[in-house]
């Protein structure tokens, strides 16, 4: 297993928010690749630099640089497809299939 995933609840009953905990290491290498498939913003001037990637389907993923936890928010419409796409990408990157 490359990561653990759990649903996070918030104010909105229809929200699809998931937390991903990478089981090995931080996310810096991952971000380099994600930046090529989504719009990546990194706030380096924060005390703990913060990143956000926005994908074409509206999925957003954010977290702290060099941390092993990321939060993904899937668009409510067709969120299952968005989640599958994201997890397939994440698995491919973490397993080394995509470099």
């Amino acid at each position: 297993m490359l990561y653990e995933c759990r649903k996070k609840e918030n104010c909105f009953s229809g929200a699809q928010v998931y937390e991903y905990r990478l089981l090995a290491g931080g996310n810096e290498a991952l971000l380099n690749i994600l930046g090529t498939v989504g719009e990546l913003t990194i706030k380096m001037h924060f005390p703990r630099p913060f990143f956000q990637v926005v994908f074409e389907d509206g999925t957003t993923v954010n977290g702290i640089l060099q941390d092993n936890i990321m939060k993904a928010v899937f668009p409510e419409k067709q969120w299952q497809d968005s989640r599958l796409r994201w997890e397939a990408l994440l698995t491919a990157i973490l397993s080394g299939s995509v470099k």
Binding site: N10, C11, F12, F46, N62
Partner: protein, 376 residues
């Protein structure tokens, strides 16, 4: 990273050190509970009740029913109320789900007609709108909050209560956001019921709160939380005596010991809100200058600030503030779903900072620095 805590409207932190000490002391001693043990001595719940009565200027402490929190108190008030068929209730768009959800449930189970009146752009009830609604609806009960947990806007509880009384309604005030920060005087204001919580500005632990019930109204309520009271065990019904009529089961004595200690501490360490409110106003001005959309609230108010940032989702602001800057706050609807339509913050809600008497000026400075970083 040192955490900066700006979520006191949810639960206050830090607590005075006497709170934890009193709770540990309570757990460490043989319990002494009137009628539930043979041991005589000072009752934790009675001492707490007396201290609350002193704070709230209530003549007879027995009119205060202790419970788990304000949500518990509001449920006791609303579900015990003698609703007749076709009864109506008037409440406001700034209410918390602890008021709204019991009312929705009563609408489904008892056919209660729930009328929700609008609030202004600060989240405040306008007295003339309140008066018009009460005159039109002629409700059995009028329920309203003393202050919005989203904006901090404080209502004139005495005036709104008077208007409700003139319309023939029983009054229930949700004083969760003000008890311990501003005066709350149920009897002076002629309110029938007032719900409050121990873990916000009273600086007590979670799991404590209470409901003031006036002597005139108490006999009319039918308790729904029923069980052992330690006295009159031979009766099938709950005893008529206050407060045990509404206090079935073993109380949260460690929590009440903590709340009691907090009340004693507060009495010796008086607090004037003005300097904190000036800092709140400084923060609002600073946020506005940075480009935040701040919900502008005039006094009277509590130390709560709601805002949004351009190009940032509110939830992401909260995450960035906490994970990158160590600032703990709250984002979203704040369990008050209707108010946002009036504030212009629907559907996503706001970022909320809420302060306490322990908040320091340099923490406000740090907060402004963090928001500046988010916007650059």
């Amino acid at each position: 990273m040192k955490l900066v805590y700006f979520n006191n409207a949810a639960t206050s932190w830090p607590k005075p050190s006497v709170v934890a000490a009193a709770m540990a002391d309570c757990v460490g001693h043989i319990p002494c509970q009137d009628a539930r043990s043979g041991l005589e001595g000072e009752s934790v719940s009675e001492t707490c009740r007396e201290r609350l009565a002193a704070l709230l200027h209530i003549r007879e402490a027995k009119q205060i029913v202790l419970g788990a929190n304000a949500t518990h108190a509001l449920n006791v008030a609303l579900h015990s109320f003698p609703w007749r068929n076709g009864a109506s209730v008037v409440t406001t768009a700034s209410e918390h789900n602890s008021v709204l959800r019991p009312l929705y449930q009563l609408a489904k189970t008892k056919g209660l007609r729930v009328h929700i009146i609008p609030v202004d752009v600060e989240g405040r009830v306008e007295p003339e709108v309140w008066r018009a609604a009460l005159k039109k609806v002629q409700p059995s009960l009028a329920v309203f909050s003393h202050a919005s947990n989203v904006t901090g806007a404080v209502n004139d509880a005495m005036l709104l209560g008077q208007i409700a009384r003139e319309a023939g309604a029983v009054t229930l005030l949700d004083a969760s956001q003000t008890t311990g920060f501003l005066p709350v005087y149920p009897e002076t204001w002629h309110l029938d019921m007032v719900a409050f919580t121990g873990h916000k500005y009273l600086l007590g632990p979670g799991g404590t709160g209470g409901l003031y019930i006036s002597p005139a109204i108490a006999p009319l309520l039918q308790p729904v939380w029923v069980g052992g009271t330690g006295i009159h065990s031979n009766l099938e019904d709950m005893p008529a005596l206050m407060p045990m009529r509404f206090e079935a089961g073993t109380p949260n004595n460690p929590g009440l010991a903590g709340l009691s200690a907090a009340l004693a501490w507060r009495a010796k360490n008086t607090f004037q809100p003005n300097s904190l409110l000036k800092e709140v106003e400084r923060l609002c001005a600073g946020l506005t200058e940075l480009g935040a959309d701040v919900i502008d609230v005039t006094r009277p108010r509590t130390p709560v600030v709601s805002f949004t940032l351009p190009k940032w989702r509110v939830e992401t602001v909260g995450e960035a503030l906490q994970k990158s800057f160590g600032i703990v706050c709250r984002t979203g609807l704040h369990c008050a779903p209707h108010i946002h339509a009036f504030l212009g913050t629907a559907p996503c809600g706001t970022v909320r900072f809420s302060f306490s008497r322990f908040t320091q000026a340099q923490e406000i400075d740090y907060c402004l620095h963090a928001v500046h970083a988010l916007l650059t």
